[in-house]
């Protein structure tokens, strides 16, 4: 699979334990193939996914970040995803002002039954990020000394 000289984007996916992680699981058990560029990090709930983790991912050299959880109404903890959604709305605006490339920060609802949606989302994000190229701006920023 690996081709020399082809950019392999690094994608961090923060997923919730109850929906998207099971969606990824379903994609696996159904043998749905998706790019291996994604690193899945399982957390209890989208409500737990601190915005700092998004920044942390970029700091660690991610080229794109995906945050995904249960559809509205499906949250295992009743309202975690609603709280998360509200924070994302605000957080996106802050990233916008800072000039962070919004095409690299993705949010999604993927349920435990949506193995195919998981596969498609990951494939699309990988393809898109590949076109964008590595996120050099943030990497450069993180490497800058005092």
């Amino acid at each position: 699979m690996s081709e020399v000289g082809v950019f392999k984007p690094k994608i961090i996916a923060y997923v919730c334990n109850w929906c998207t992680y099971l969606g990824a699981d379903l994609a696996g058990t159904n043998r749905l193939e998706y790019p291996s560029n994604v690193r899945i990090i399982r957390l209890p709930c989208t409500g737990r996914i601190d915005f700092n983790l998004i920044i942390k991912a970029l700091e660690s050299g991610a080229d794109a970040v995906l945050v995904s959880g249960c559809h509205p109404g499906d949250c295992h903890y009743t309202s975690g995803n609603y709280h998360a959604r509200r924070r994302w709305i605000l957080f996106r605006e802050l990233l916008e002002t800072l000039g962070i490339e919004m095409e690299r920060v993705h949010f999604a609802w993927i349920s435990a039954a949506e193995g195919r949606k998981f596969q498609q989302t990951i494939t699309e994000i990988t393809e898109h990020t590949r076109k964008l190229g590595p996120y050099t701006a943030y990497k450069k920023l993180c490497e800058a000394g005092v």
Binding site: F51, E59, Y82, L94, T97, A137
Partner: protein, 279 residues
């Protein structure tokens, strides 16, 4: 006006209604006013009020050492009072146990500070008494003009701007210390197990810190502008806060510190929140 203020404070201390007045003092007429804490009636002469009274004194209400002084009275401008409203909403202060002396304000600084040019709270609204008169009229819009102009730049240009600005940040945390709404006993920036915010004063750490600082004030910042005023590097931190203030107003029709009855937007949610950006 100043005599009136001093008399009021003297009366409050004499009658034992309060134990400490949190107000402004000044060394020279040209110098900036600084916060003072008057505990004795004979010291009320130290209190001043003029257009050099920049500080938002609300920040001292949540400090341990100030709380130890007893029941406080605080002198607030209209903009500072908004911080009181948020502190009250967040159960950080007990308005019953606090005497609020409002001062009508025409704006501070010469030339006027940017926040004063778009001020719509020249007169404190919930104070026990409001001293003086404000001749300036309330401005209803223009709060986000500077931000709007900034956002006309491309994302790459904006990134370059912040890289330049934040490269000057020395992580002194003055922005945090002065903020009336940054009252956590332990700040996330001081925690090191795990280290969420890189503690070094490099761009990496400075971005992480300023993002946290701004976002923890989302829907809470009252735009008192203290963070930018005290920044020794002169970074326009207000711009980040304005972004979130505008987002709160645009998406949730909410302005922090205006209406104490309204539910704060963080910690609540609505089924109707927009989600067209979610895949």
């Amino acid at each position: 006006m100043i005599d009136q203020l001093r008399q009021t404070c003297r009366r409050l201390l004499d009658e034992g209604k309060v134990n400490v007045i949190i107000g402004y003092g000044q060394n020279s007429a040209d110098g900036p006013a600084y916060p003072i804490f008057v505990t004795k009636p004979e010291e009320v002469g130290k209190l001043v009020w003029n257009d050099k009274c920049y500080a938002n004194l609300a920040t001292y209400l949540t400090r341990k050492d100030i709380k130890a002084l007893g029941k406080p009275a605080i002198i607030v401008k209209g903009c500072d009072e908004r911080a009181l409203v948020v502190l009250q909403q967040e159960s950080q202060i007990d308005r019953e146990a606090l005497y609020v002396i409002g001062v009508a304000c025409d704006g501070v600084g010469n030339p006027r500070a940017a926040k004063c040019l778009v001020c719509d709270v020249h007169r404190p609204r919930f104070a026990a008494e409001v001293l003086g008169e404000a001749s300036a009229s309330d401005v209803g819009n223009g709060r986000y003009t500077e931000l709007g102009e900034f956002l006309e730049k491309s994302p790459a240009e904006r990134m370059v701007y912040w890289m330049e600005e934040l490269s000057r940040c020395v992580k002194c945390y003055a922005c945090r210390e002065v903020c009336p709404l940054c009252y956590c006993n332990r700040c996330i920036a001081d925690k090191n197990r795990p280290t969420i915010i890189d503690t070094s004063a490099t761009l990496k750490g400075n971005f992480a810190w300023q993002i946290v600082r701004a976002f923890h004030l989302a829907g809470r910042c009252v735009s008192c502008g203290e963070c930018a005023r005290v920044c020794p590097a002169g970074i326009d931190l207000g711009l980040l806060n304005l972004t979130l203030a505008r987002a709160a107003e645009e998406h949730f029709q909410y302005r922090a510190g205006i209406d104490p009855e309204k539910t704060p937007i963080i910690g609540a949610y609505s089924l109707e929140d927009k989600e067209e950006f979610i895949l």
